[in-house]
Amino acid sequence: MTRINVKVDGVDHTDEVEPRMLLVHYLREQVGRTGTVVGCDTSNCGACTVHLDGRSVKSCNVLAVQADGHEVTTIEGIADGDRLHAMQQAFHDCHALQCGYCTPGMIMQSIDLLNDNPNPSEDEIRHGLEGNLCRCTGYHNIVKAVQQAAGAGVGGGGGR
């Protein structure tokens, strides 16, 4: 067992973990943040995407011990009380989800995309989200949602 200190969604956690424990399992099993889901655990689907120090990572491809001393933000940590994050609001408004299983990872990756490129073209959005698979929606409305969020200034820092 190894002791780690991780800030998850703004709350400090100190935990004993097995060195082989994946970050996603730490978040789900130990911290209780089950909003971050597992679609493949082989880093192909993006369902488990979270932010590590503000940059997106696939949390099935990071060990919990690698998060020691760092800050993790999950889908459950981006709303401001009752107020949805502008990206959440955009996914809601644009019907950018059906089953919703890809949604937490898709939203976290979309925020990261806009942080890098606040005004992406449609093509840049499609390529920027290529590592996040959605089996339900055909992606059309997801692209629309990211465009709406970009319009609301998410990547420019005014999106909250």
Partner: protein
């Protein structure tokens, strides 16, 4: 004239509005619990051990090392697992004997304190086998081919009318080709998963549940009715819960072996809950897939392109452990007019995993062959592919002679042609080039039967000024939480805010599965009946607690009409002249599916289905090891599904004033599958138009085009030299 007998239609007030999905907020917040996100205090984790041989017997299992691992709670195998009460369905009788039916069949189950320990221990279980020779490949000369009694849609294996051979011999134009579709896996994004809790017969709960399954399923009641007899539990005492489901596309339409294993483990560890998540890799062996098909398609036509013969002979496979027969030839029976027609199905039961429903089972592969064959015929007749379809439009259902409810295929084709900018006339392959890219367009028809499944019941209760409506239906992403609320509001004549819908739980009355594009139809029929019964019994001013329950009224129209949805798919493709790379810059679908109960969720269903069609056309293929029959492309890195950047301009529309008057009170027909039917053919036909290369086996990949593109490339080369 006969009396009008169809369902009495509801007045659409809430129906037809693009109501935002009611579960949307929970889902964007990440607080909608899928199966294993449910609380389960102290749950143990299970991991499966898979067989490494395709056929034979387990000689010995040595779990000493696994049991010695700290944190391991139990290792179950056929010598010590709890017994099932009814093992007739062998998919539901795991760990009951030593028989191995296919490679990757579970032969042991480890339960441990954590998933890490469970997985490590599973790898430590040493299994020895007495292997037997296996047959794992689908071949036209397979000794295991037989004629199945029925197809999985309940129809006959073979049908025949007139004299197909004579008609083909006399035909002016003939298409006689073989088409093939690959093994495909559903791959919903949420892996199949279960939390099982065995409370026991005498847990002090009176007649409370003996077993609770929080499961990822398309039908809680289907899980109950399938597994209660297997586990020897009274159906009412098997509780199944599934409020949110991360997609299914058919694979979650019935329980699979993993659910039984979770239940057996929970019984062994009672009362401790057990979580069993099927890994993405294991999904390629345990939760169903679309069989590969080899389809011999023959069309005969006269000089004008009128069909004289349609012949569709299907070879496909099933599993030795359990039969499942894809209804590949079914749509051919009703699609186009021709006096001489036949369909046949031959199936080989191989030593492989069990195939099952995958979005539009039968219609998807069958209509791929049919619609590519039609494109080939149009080419041979020198006709516009749409005109060919116009000339072969039947007046009545060719199979049954029944009138069609409302068949608007030609309107879909015409409306689509207009919107897409379809250039009329016969296709002229290889006639458009933009730089290095060959450009082509293609069209294909689509159809899907309008289904309403029996066995639905709903309850309406007046509580605190609201109407609580319960039915054990499912929302697997289709939007039923929302659309059923709209239906219920109109059935009761109240606003959405007065409806409290309850689904996804066996505490609500019996409901059929979310499958076969039948969910909204079937559940809506029962909900409307319950609402009408409620108003009859309690009027417009019900007292607190007033309640009514009703099932599905008889609908004689179902016997008298052929009820189907229709659609037209248009695709534009670009093929790189040197590399054969294929891009699909545009797809358009035009559909006739009856009333749009919720235009937002409906459109999303169409778009998602079309992209799954694109995915099938270009990417999806489960590659089997020819020695052992297991799938080697068993993750999302090697089994490709369409990603965001594979999609471009995507559009789905539907016909106005489309109300189905024969099926249900909503006037709808169902839309979950029609997007994937025909769309692969439209893309393949567009590839032919672009390149002149006809690909008859899915998926269309660059290597299948390169040989045909070679002459073109050589021409370019020579021209390039000449102009230098």
């Amino acid at each position: 004239m006969s009396e009008p007998t169809g369902p009495t239609l509801l007045d659409p007030v809430q129906m037809g509005r693009p109501v935002g999905r009611l579960d949307g907020r929970r889902k964007v917040l990440g607080v909608a619990p899928y199966a294993v996100e449910h609380e389960a205090e102290g749950a143990a984790q299970a991991a499966m051990v898979a067989s490494t041989v395709p056929r034979g017997r387990v000689r010995s299992i040595d779990a000493t090392a696994a049991r010695a691992l700290p944190g391991v709670l139990a290792v179950l195998d056929h010598t010590n697992a709890p017994r099932v009460a009814d093992g007739e369905d062998r998919e539901f009788a795991p760990l009951q004997d030593d028989t191995v039916w296919f490679r990757r069949q579970p032969v042991a189950l480890v339960v441990a304190e954590s998933s890490e320990v469970a997985r490590e221990a599973a790898a430590l279980v040493a299994v020895e086998y007495d292997e037997e020779p296996a047959e794992v490949g689908l071949r036209p000369d397979s000794p295991r081919l037989y004629t199945p009694e029925k197809l999985s849609d309940g129809s006959e294996s073979d049908t025949s009318a007139g004299d197909v051979e004579a008609a083909l011999a006399a035909a002016t134009h003939v298409v006689d080709e073989t088409y093939a579709t690959p093994y495909e896996h559903n791959n919903p994004m949420e892996p199949h998963a279960t939390i099982a809790t065995w409370h026991g017969e005498d847990a002090g709960l009176g007649d409370g549940p003996v077993l609770t399954l929080v499961d990822s399923t398309q039908g809680v009641h289907a899980v109950r009715s399938s597994l209660a007899p297997v586990l020897g539990i009274e159906p009412e005492r098997l509780e199944v819960v599934a409020p949110y489901v991360g997609g299914g596309f058919g694979s979650k339409g019935a329980p699979h072996v993993n659910v039984v294993l979770a239940a057996l483990a929970a019984k062994a560890l009672a009362p401790r809950p057990v979580r069993l998540t099927v890994t993405r890799q294991q999904m390629f062996a345990l939760v169903g897939y679309r069989t590969a098909t080899i389809q011999h398609f023959r069309l005969g036509a006269d000089a004008d392109g009128r069909l004289t013969a349609i012949s569709h002979d299907v070879l496909e496979q099933s599993a030795a452990i359990k039969e499942f027969v894809e209804q590949t030839g079914s749509p051919t029976r009703s699609m186009y007019a021709a006096p001489n027609r036949r369909t046949t199905h031959r199936v080989a039961r191989l030593d492989v995993a069990i195939p099952f429903w995958m979005r539009a089972p039968g219609e998807m592969p069958g209509m791929f062959a049919h619609e590519v064959a039609m494109d080939e015929l149009a080419h041979r007749c020198g006709l516009d592919p749409i005109e060919l379809r116009v000339r072969n439009e039947p007046d009545v259902d060719p199979e049954t002679g029944h009138p069609f409810g409302r068949r608007r295929l030609l309107e879909c084709l015409r409306r689509g042609a207009e919107r897409f900018g379809w250039e009329e006339g016969p296709r002229a392959p290889l006639s458009r080039r933009e730089g290095d890219w060959l450009v082509g367009t293609g069209v294909a028809s689509s159809t899907y039967p309008a289904n309403a499944m029996p066995g639905n019941e709903a309850t309406v209760t007046f509580e605190h000024g609201c109407y609580a409506v319960g039915i054990g239906a499912a929302d697997i992403g289709t939007g039923s939480w929302t659309s059923l609320t709209q239906v219920t509001a109109d059935a009761l004549g109240v606003g959405l805010e007065q409806i409290r819908l309850g689904i996804g739980d066996t505490r609500y009355p019996s409901a059929s599965v979310a499958g076969g594009s039948s969910g909204l139809s079937s559940w809506g029929i029962a909900i409307t009946a319950a609402a009408r019964a409620f108003r009859e019994q309690h009027g417009d001013r019900p007292s607190e607690g007033a309640s009514a329950t009703a099932g599905m009224p008889d609908n004689p129209d179902l016997q008298e009409y052929a009820l189907n949805s229709y659609g037209a798919h248009f695709a534009k493709v670009r093929v790189h002249a040197d590399t054969g790379q294929i891009r699909v810059p545009r797809m358009l679908g035009v559909f006739s599916v009856g009333r749009a109960v919720n235009p937002t969720t409906l459109r999303s269903q169409f778009l998602g289905g079309m992209v799954m069609g694109l995915s099938a056309a270009l990417f999806e293929e489960s590659v089997r090891d020819p020695r052992f029959g297991h799938v080697v492309t068993q993750d999302l890195a090697s089994y490709h599904v369409a990603a965001n950047a594979d999609v471009a301009d995507l559009d789905a529309i539907w016909l106005d004033d489309d109300v189905e008057t024969h099926l249900n009170p909503m006037g709808s027909r169902g839309a979950g599958e029609i997007g994937i039917v025909g769309s692969p053919a439209a893309i393949v036909n567009a590839v032919f138009d672009a390149t002149g290369v006809r690909v008859r086996d899915l998926p269309v990949t660059a290597d299948k085009l390169l040989a045909g593109l070679l002459p073109q490339r050589e021409r370019d080369h020579v021209l390039g030299d000449a102009s230098a």
